[in-house]
């Protein structure tokens, strides 16, 4: 939220360092880590980043606007499928063209679904978004000629950036996705700090009050919904290149559930919360796949229950509070 700094002191630089330290360190970590880590783990890191983008997109409509959607994977799947179809069926290999189209398709889907879903609120909004998401899933399963049915689409090559002589490896791909995350993070951050973003939070707190203050709240929710869909589409496109295959699971309620978990674990109240959530959940999934693959839904469910009952506000919020206390020693009053 907005803060006015009224008294800069001579220790301001130290204060800034303490405040921004963790962010800088984390940022450096994201850049250095893949170089330190064995190759087979690098792909897991890419997955973290992709789901971070996905989760940030959900948090825009959920954490900031207050709209919990049970079908956000629909746009993720739309982005993934469109990208896969354009590349494998229609031979549109150029990454820039195919990804732009795919992201737009995801946004278009959100535009259509948004009109339907925003006619209702609360419980019914939840159910409608669930149903709409499932519709996409069933279309993906049934429209075999286009989507490959239950088997999906396979053989998606690495993106063709149009750079002559460039070949991919896992590390390059990681940095490619990292760049995408940085761009998305930056764009979403600006949006959230803007008057538009503040209005979204006002709507979350009290839509009645916002209306009476002169805001066309439906329009705000609708735009947020579409933007959320667009960025989910970005994540979907990246995922299709990451995995090389796309299946109906990408649009299923299971994927919608996982991204929900990522957001609540990370925190809906902190902008970068979803990124932490992605780290935690993808790591969990990785360890589960090593030691108890058949029990992953059990672990997933358990983490949900624990998050709701005990981890109020998410990891990031609690981290911030902790850091706020530490920072206080150095004179910065607000964490």
């Amino acid at each position: 939220m907005v803060r006015i700094n009224l008294k800069p002191t001579s220790y301001a630089w130290l204060e800034q360092l303490v405040r921004f330290g963790p962010y800088i360190i984390t940022g450096l970590l994201f850049v250095i880590l893949p170089l330190l880590v064995p190759l087979y783990l690098q792909s897991m890191l890419s997955k973290v980043l992709i789901f971070a983008i996905f989760a940030l997109s959900l948090n825009l409509i959920w954490g900031y606007t207050g709209l919990m959607s049970l079908g956000h994977a629909a746009y993720f799947g739309m982005g993934a499928y469109t990208s896969a179809i354009l590349v494998t069926h229609y031979g549109i290999e150029n990454f820039w063209i195919s990804s732009a189209c795919s992201i737009l398709m995801a946004g278009l889907l959100a535009a259509v679904f948004g009109i339907i879903a925003l006619r209702v609120s609360g419980l019914y909004f939840l159910l409608v978004t669930l149903a709409l998401g499932q519709l996409v899933y069933y279309v993906a399963v049934a429209w075999e000629p286009m989507t490959g049915g239950m088997n999906g689409i396979i053989g998606i090559p690495r993106p063709d950036l149009g750079i002559p002589g460039f070949t991919w490896n896992a590390t390059y791909f990681y940095f490619f996705v990292l760049l995408a995350l940085i761009i998305c993070f930056f764009l979403l951050y600006r949006m959230v700090k803007s008057p538009f973003g503040h209005a979204l939070q006002g709507i979350r707190e009290s839509e009645t009050r916002m209306r009476v203050l002169g805001y066309n709240t439906w329009l705000y929710k609708y735009i947020a919904f579409i933007v959320g869909g667009l960025f989910a589409g970005v994540a979907g496109v990246l995922f299709s290149y990451f995995l090389g295959v796309v299946g109906p699971g990408q649009a299923s309620v299971t994927t919608s559930t996982i991204v929900l978990l990522i957001v609540i674990i990370g925190s809906t109240r902190v902008f970068w919360g979803p990124v932490i959530g992605a780290v935690v959940v993808v790591l969990l999934e990785y360890f589960a796949s090593l030691y108890a693959p058949a029990r992953w839904p059990l672990i997933l469910g358990g983490v949900f229950v624990i998050s709701v009952m005990f981890l109020r506000g998410g990891i990031s919020l609690n981290l911030l509070r902790l850091w706020g206390r530490v920072g206080y020693q150095y004179g910065s009053a607000k964490g």
Binding site: Y124, Y138, I264, G301, F304, V308
Partner: protein, 286 residues
């Protein structure tokens, strides 16, 4: 013509199952304002417990009863441990109950494996009866009869007894109902448990007809949600009407179109939510 009757009877018997199952959801939603996504898992638990009892040599009716009781106990545990702390926090209810669905589904997979299982109806009801050129299972007719009896019982309980009146009052105004001299939270727990029992009972009864499998929780829940939305939360008659309508639509849909089921049901749900969220006979706007 015979085929028409058969599909109609199929639809009505399935509708009766849905009615029993959806009642639990309807009351919980209407009374406690809680969206309990695990209700589908209770249906599944009823089916699996029934299966275990029958496989252990138990009597059919005992199996069905135990299925219901187990589901009732699980429901009670869930309500007591988790749901009563989340009154009116919709987001949290959804997340929590979703998590429980995954846990329960995976446990079912662990214990029973991944394939659809059924057990046979009692030999008394096993023989088919003839309708025109076709045969129709007597068991399904028995389901219809059970449904009617259950409807009368539940309707009487909700609409005609003091407990029912207090519950209905609580649907409209929880604070007031608490002041009526009855331990309202206890009444809520009792009603919730009854709903869970009936839901599990329905799951058990349904197993000879539709089988039981670890993935069914959310699918059957969807049917119940449509029923509750169509019929209106909190209304016994509404739930029956809604269940019969959905059951019949489902039966005819499956007979006419190949890959009918879920896709069309989701579209029905969306249309109902947009057009008439309070249902046909609904008494409460959620």
């Amino acid at each position: 013509m015979d085929l028409l009757v058969i599909n109609l009877l199929n639809g009505i018997s399935f509708g009766m199952i849905l009615f029993l199952f959806a009642m639990g959801l309807s009351i919980t939603l209407g009374v406690m304002g809680v969206l309990n996504l695990t209700h589908g898992a209770l249906f599944m638990i009823g089916g699996f417990v029934g299966l275990s009892v029958v496989n252990a040599g138990g009597n059919f009716w005992l199996a069905v009863l135990l299925g219901g009781i187990t589901a009732g106990l699980v429901g009670l545990a869930m309500e007591w441990l988790f749901l009563r702390r989340l009154y009116r926090q919709l987001d949290d209810q959804v997340l929590l109950t979703l998590g429980l669905v995954y846990i329960l589904g995976n446990i079912a997979l662990w214990i029973y494996g991944g394939r659809v299982k059924i057990f046979r109806p009692p030999s008394l009801l096993a023989s088919p009866i003839a309708i025109g050129d076709y045969t129709f299972p007597l068991y399904r007719l028995a389901l219809i009869a059970i449904g009617v009896v259950a409807f009368i019982g539940l309707w009487w309980l909700i609409e005609r007894t003091r407990i029912g009146a207090i519950i209905r009052a609580g649907m409209d105004n929880r604070e007031m109902a608490t002041g009526l001299g009855v331990n309202y939270p206890l009444a809520c727990s009792a009603v919730f448990t009854l709903g869970a029992f009936v839901g599990g009972f329905a799951g058990s009864l349904a197993t000879p007809v539709i089988g039981v499998v670890f993935t069914m929780s959310l699918d059957i829940l969807l049917y119940a949600l449509i029923v509750v939305v169509v019929g209106g939360p909190g209304s016994v008659l509404g739930t029956l009407v809604g269940a019969l309508i959905i059951g019949v639509i489902d039966a005819f849909g499956k007979a006419l179109i190949q890959d009918f089921a879920m896709f069309t049901m989701y579209i029905v749900l969306i249309i109902m939510l947009l057009v008439k969220p309070a249902g046909i006979l609904g008494r409460k706007q959620v």
